[in-house]
Symmetry: C2
Subunit: 265 residues, 2 copies
């Protein structure tokens, strides 16, 4: 029996583990459903900052995953929850897309234009304009404005090549002002990982963190002292694994061809 099967809970990445965009990864979906049948607690954690939790939930259901919406933690929702817990009356300006705005509103927060804001929330926006960046810049220059980034992702692999992540905006602001976010919510930040543990009702030692990105999912797991497993169904492959280990200077506790390899398949 695979040692990971002794864990009580699993924190599972979405992209590259159970799906790629709108396409399911059958081995990943099957493995999650098998883990659930064994009574394991499961939570999905995604750094996606453009989709609401509801939208991601519907996608995972279409993949054939038997889950509840509450078992999904995505940075849009996690950011809104974090800010609401910190300041229920926060007045938020965000660079983000509708998915992020929806979650901020659902959390009871007010979305305002930049000159009325006391929170700057930076999330990816594939329709971003110069004016959006100008507004974020002006807030970034104000010490009385709290600056939260949904996630630190620099770039993503798309089908035809890399595309910019939220780091595009974080980097532009850093270069212009010297300021980095006060808080980053997404992996490998412990903020989102602690939300995941809270949802599971478990301690870090009792869970395994499963993901496809060595530099994101492995440090995220280490933040909460969980065991980590890297699957080779996403950006990490048998081919680049050794080079990635060498480049980053750390490695996962386990490497799995697919998540289903946990069952010896």
């Amino acid at each position: 029996m695979h040692p990971l099967l002794e864990k009580k809970g699993f924190i599972v990445d979405v992209d590259g583990v159970v799906g790629r965009g709108d396409t399911p990864i059958p081995e990943g979906v099957m493995a999650v459903n098998r883990l659930r049948k064994l009574g394991k607690r499961i939570v999905f954690v995604s750094n996606n900052s453009t989709r609401s939790r509801r939208i991601l939930f519907e996608r995972l259901r279409r993949f054939g995953l038997e889950i509840k919406e509450e078992e999904i933690i995505v940075t849009t929702h996690a950011t809104a929850v974090y800010i609401r817990d910190e300041n229920k009356k926060a007045r938020v300006y965000t660079t983000g897309e509708e998915g992020l705005k929806d979650e901020l509103r659902l959390a009871g927060l007010e979305i305002v234009d930049y000159d009325e804001a006391d929170y700057l929330v930076v999330g990816l926006n594939r329709y971003i304009t110069y004016s959006d960046i100008k507004k974020a810049l002006r807030l970034c220059l104000r010490n009385d404005v709290r600056y939260i980034a949904t996630n630190p992702d620099r770039l993503y692999p798309a089908e035809d090549g890399p595309i910019p992540g939220t780091g595009m905006i974080v980097g532009a602001l850093y270069w212009m002002t010297g300021r980095e976010p006060d808080v980053i919510i997404g992996k490998p930040s412990r903020v989102i990982m602690e939300q995941a543990l809270k949802t599971l009702g478990l301690e870090g030692e009792e869970v395994a963190v499963i993901g496809d990105q060595l530099d994101v999912d492995v440090p995220a797991g280490k933040e909460i002292k969980a065991d980590t497993a890297l699957v080779l169904t996403g950006v990490t492959t048998e081919k680049n694994l050794n080079e990635l280990k060498k480049r980053h200077g750390f490695e996962p506790d386990y490497v799995l061809r697919t998540l289903n390899s946990i069952f010896g398949d």
Copy 2:
């Protein structure tokens, strides 16, 4: 007589010295015309990366300046000249606006989409899209692509507050890829300052560099061993001068209330 009047040539910044946007600064315009009557050689140097030299020339003529188009060096034109001198057959992808594209074409360079380019030229674009940044990102990741930035300006003071400069894009790319431009053309880079000296036909010691930005114009002057004078008609004021000197750890050779103060007015 002001010691700067012993210089044979003057390298004069545009914004904050002879004009603010479309509005002339009368003392600056008058002083330049007086210098010219004394037989001084004059060249204007601007970090503007959205306007062609022709457009800037027409603006300066409207200000009442008696100049020729060849006496203007602006990063749109200077970038095109630099690339042409380096590689006449360069195939350029640029993030920039029409003003920059016009200059690249005028220099005989071919403007292509990113997947056909061997030069990436980053200049400010107030209509930039996610797709533009994606294309720049992909070129930035390629070692066989030469990466030129028109200028390093992080932000500009606009009437209602700061607005992003070219540094917005340079910073986004740096954050995503770790790569900085191979060459930066605009001040304080010596690239544009050497083009200015060449136009004047003078050595650095024979000229004065006049500008309104301590952190840009003073190091630009020092790059070519010219004397530097800071005017207080732009971003630097009597009020913030000492704080700026302290912050940057250097100062200009002279401070002038307006450029016309060179004549004791």
